[in-house]
C-alpha cells in the first residue's frame, strides 16, 4: 500500500496539472524540503526507503489539500508534521508487531526510542542531512546505485528526471533505486555520521559520487551533447551544501573548488554548433568570472584548513592555474607539472599519468611528453580510453609526424561513444592528413 502511494505521488508530480499555481508551488517546495524531510525521517525510522515513502505520503497529502486550501504559511513544517504523524504510527505498529515476536530487552530499547521520537525529528537538521548523504553514498552500494539514490533523496529529482539525465530507461533507474534501498536494509547500514578512521573512507565515497555526477554533465559519456549543464548544477549544489555541512573537511572544499572552476568554462567549451572546444582553444573572455572567484575562494578555504592538499584540492589547484592565466600562453605549466606530480603520489593512476604527460609536453616540449605517453601505451586500463590516442596524436602532430598523428586521432575517434567528441577527433585526423600532403 505504501509503495502504491509513492508511485501515485511521482505520477502526480510528473503528469499533474502543471499550470496550476498551487501545483507548481508544491513541486518547488518539494525540491526545497524533500532532502531535509527524508533525512529527519530516516534518522527516526532507520532506513531510507521507509523515510522516503513517509515523506512522499506527506507530499500526496499536500497535493490533495493545498490546491483547495492554499499553501500553508510554513510548508516545510507542515510536510514534516504530517510525515511525523505517519512515522509515529509506523513505529507504533512496528513495536506492536515486534512485541509479538521479539524478546523483552529489545522491546525496552524500542520504547525508549519511541519516547524520543517527538523531539528527534526537529533537531540537528544539518547532522541529519549529513547522515543521509553518507547513507546514500555508502560503499556497500555500486557507484551507479549511489549516484541514482543521491540524486533522488538529496537532489529531490524524480526517477524520470534522473533517467533523462543519464539517457537510460526510467525502469532501469527505478530498479536501481529499489535495489539500492534493499541492499542498504539487508546490509543493516546505520543512519549515522561516521567518525574516526571510518569517516575518511566514507567521505571519499561521498565526494566520488558528487564528482561522478558532475563529470557526467561535464563530459557526457554518451549521447549527442557534449555537456549537460543541469547535471553539473546538481553536483555543484550538492557540493555547496556539503561544504556548509562539513566545513572543516578540506577535501570537500577542494572538490567544490574543482567543480566551480571547471563549471566556469561550461559556456566556453562548446562551439556554436555544439562541438567541443578544448581548454587551450577556448575564448577565456567567456569563462564565468563569478564561478572562478568562488572556486578560488573554496580552494583558499581548503588550504587554510592546513595540512597537505588532497587529490581534489590538488586538481582544483591545477584548474586554478588555468583560471588565473589570462591567455593560454601565460599558463604556468611547470607548476601544473609539479601539482600533477603531487596528485600522482597521492592517487596514482594511468589517467593522472596521461594528464601529467600533457603538462610535461607543454612545459618541456612535445618530445618529453611523448616519452611519457609512450610508456602508457601498454597500460591495460587505458586500452580503450580515447584520450590516450588523442593526446599521443597531439604530441606527434607537434613533432611534425603528421601521418602517425592522423592514425592516432582516427583510433581515438573510433573509441569514443560521444558523437561530438568523435567529430572533433575526425576533424583533427583530417587536418593531419592535409598537413601530411603539404609537408
Amino acid at each position: 500500500m505504501r509503495s502504491s502511494s509513492s508511485r501515485a505521488c511521482e505520477g502526480a508530480l510528473a503528469i499533474g496539472p502543471r499550470n496550476s499555481e498551487a501545483h507548481r508551488a508544491i513541486e518547488a517546495i518539494w525540491r526545497i524540503e524533500s532532502a531535509r524531510l527524508i533525512a529527519g525521517l530516516a534518522r527516526v525510522v532507520g532506513d531510507i526507503g521507509t523515510a522516503e515513502e513517509l515523506a512522499q505520503d506527506a507530499l500526496v497529502a499536500a497535493l490533495e489539500q493545498w490546491p483547495a486550501e492554499g499553501v500553508p504559511e510554513r510548508p516545510g513544517a507542515w510536510l514534516m508534521g504530517t510525515a511525523k504523524h505517519r512515522a509515529i504510527d509506523l513505529v507504533r505498529r512496528r513495536k506492536t508487531l515486534e512485541r509479538k515476536h521479539v524478546e523483552i530487552g529489545r522491546d525496552v530499547e524500542q520504547a525508549q526510542e519511541g519516547l524520543d521520537l517527538d523531539t528527534a525529528i526537529e533537531d540537528e537538521v544539518g547532522d541529519d542531512l549529513l547522515g543521509l548523504i553518507f547513507m546514500a553514498c555508502h560503499p556497500v552500494l555500486t557507484k551507479d546505485a549511489r549516484v541514482a539514490l543521491t540524486l533522488r533523496v538529496l537532489g529531490g529529482l524524480t526517477t524520470e528526471e534522473i533517467a533523462r539525465a543519464f539517457l537510460v530507461p526510467v525502469a532501469t533507474i527505478a530498479q536501481r533505486i529499489v535495489r539500492a534501498k534493499r541492499t542498504l536494509a539487508e546490509a543493516h547500514v546505520r543512519f549515522e555520521v561516521p567518525g574516526g578512521a571510518e569517516r575518511a573512507a566514507r567521505l571519499s565515497s561521498v565526494l566520488e559520487v558528487i564528482y561522478l555526477i558532475f563529470n557526467e554533465g561535464y563530459s557526457a559519456t554518451a549521447g549527442k551533447d557534449w555537456v549537460r549543464p543541469a547535471l553539473c548544477e546538481e553536483a555543484l549544489r550538492l557540493g555547496r551544501v556539503l561544504a556548509e555541512l562539513a566545513p572543516t573537511e578540506p577535501e570537500v572544499h577542494g572538490l567544490v573548488a574543482l567543480m566551480e572552476i571547471q563549471a566556469s568554462r561550461l559556456g566556453a567549451r562548446v562551439g556554436p554548433s555544439g562541438e567541443p572546444v578544448l581548454l587551450l582553444d577556448q575564448d577565456r573572455a567567456r569563462w564565468d568570472r563569478l564561478l572562478i572567484r568562488r572556486g578560488l575562494a573554496a580552494l583558499e578555504r581548503a588550504e587554510r584548513l592546513g595540512g597537505a592538499l588532497g587529490p581534489y584540492a590538488l586538481q582544483a589547484a591545477i584548474a586554478a592555474c588555468h583560471a588565473r592565466a589570462t591567455t593560454a600562453a601565460e599558463t604556468d605549466w611547470p607548476r601544473i607539472v609539479a601539482l600533477y606530480d603531487a596528485v600522482a603520489q597521492l592517487a596514482p593512476s594511468p589517467v593522472v599519468e596521461l594528464n601529467r604527460a600533457v603538462a610535461v609536453g607543454m612545459a618541456f616540449g612535445p618530445a618529453a611528453g611523448l616519452e611519457l605517453v609512450d610508456a602508457l601505451v601498454a597500460e591495460p586500463s587505458l586500452k580503450s580510453y580515447h584520450l590516450l590516442p588523442a593526446v599521443r596524436g597531439d604530441l606527434l602532430r607537434k613533432l611534425g609526424r603528421s601521418e602517425e598523428a592522423r592514425a592516432e586521432f582516427e583510433r581515438g575517434a573510433s573509441l569514443t561513444d560521444n558523437l561530438r567528441e568523435r567529430e572533433l577527433l575526425k576533424r583533427r585526423a583530417a587536418e593531419c592528413a592535409a598537413e601530411g600532403m603539404t609537408g
Binding site: R24, A28, I29, R31, I32, P75, E233, R237, R240, R294
Partner: protein, 115 residues
C-alpha cells in the same frame, strides 16, 4: 538556472534607515539558510541613489547624470544571484524572506545560449 533577485528600495533612496538589530539577525538567518541550501551565488547591498550616477547614451553623445533619482519605486537597493532549478523554486525561497515591505523582482539570467 540563475536568477537575479532585485530588491526595490521604495521610498528609502534619500535617507536609508538602518535596519534594527533584530531585523538584521532575521535577515542573516534567512541568508544562512539559503547558503546552506546551496542557493546563493552572490549577494550585495547598494548605496542609495543620492550617491549614484547615470550615464545616458544618445548616438555618440554620453551624458552623466547625478543622483538622487526620482522614480524611487524602480530603484534597486540590493540584489541576490541565486542558483535554482526553476523560477517557482526562487519564488518559494523569496516568500520566506523576513521582510514586511517592499517589492522584489525575480529575473532569469541568460545562460548557455543556444543550448
Amino acid at each position: 538556472m540563475r536568477v537575479l533577485i532585485m530588491a526595490k528600495e521604495g521610498e528609502q533612496s534619500a535617507a536609508p534607515t538602518p535596519p534594527t538589530p533584530e531585523a538584521m539577525a532575521e535577515y542573516q538567518k534567512f541568508n544562512e539558510e539559503l547558503v546552506k541550501a546551496g542557493v546563493v551565488l552572490e549577494a550585495g547591498r547598494l548605496y542609495p541613489s543620492s550617491q549614484s550616477k547615470r550615464v545616458k547614451f544618445d548616438g555618440k553623445k554620453r551624458t552623466v547624470i547625478d543622483g538622487p533619482f526620482a522614480e524611487t519605486k524602480e530603484l534597486v537597493a540590493g540584489y541576490w544571484l541565486w542558483q535554482v532549478r526553476s523560477i517557482d523554486e526562487a519564488l518559494e525561497w523569496l516568500k520566506r524572506a523576513p521582510y514586511d515591505g517592499g517589492t522584489f523582482e525575480v529575473r532569469e539570467v541568460v545562460e548557455f545560449e543556444g543550448m
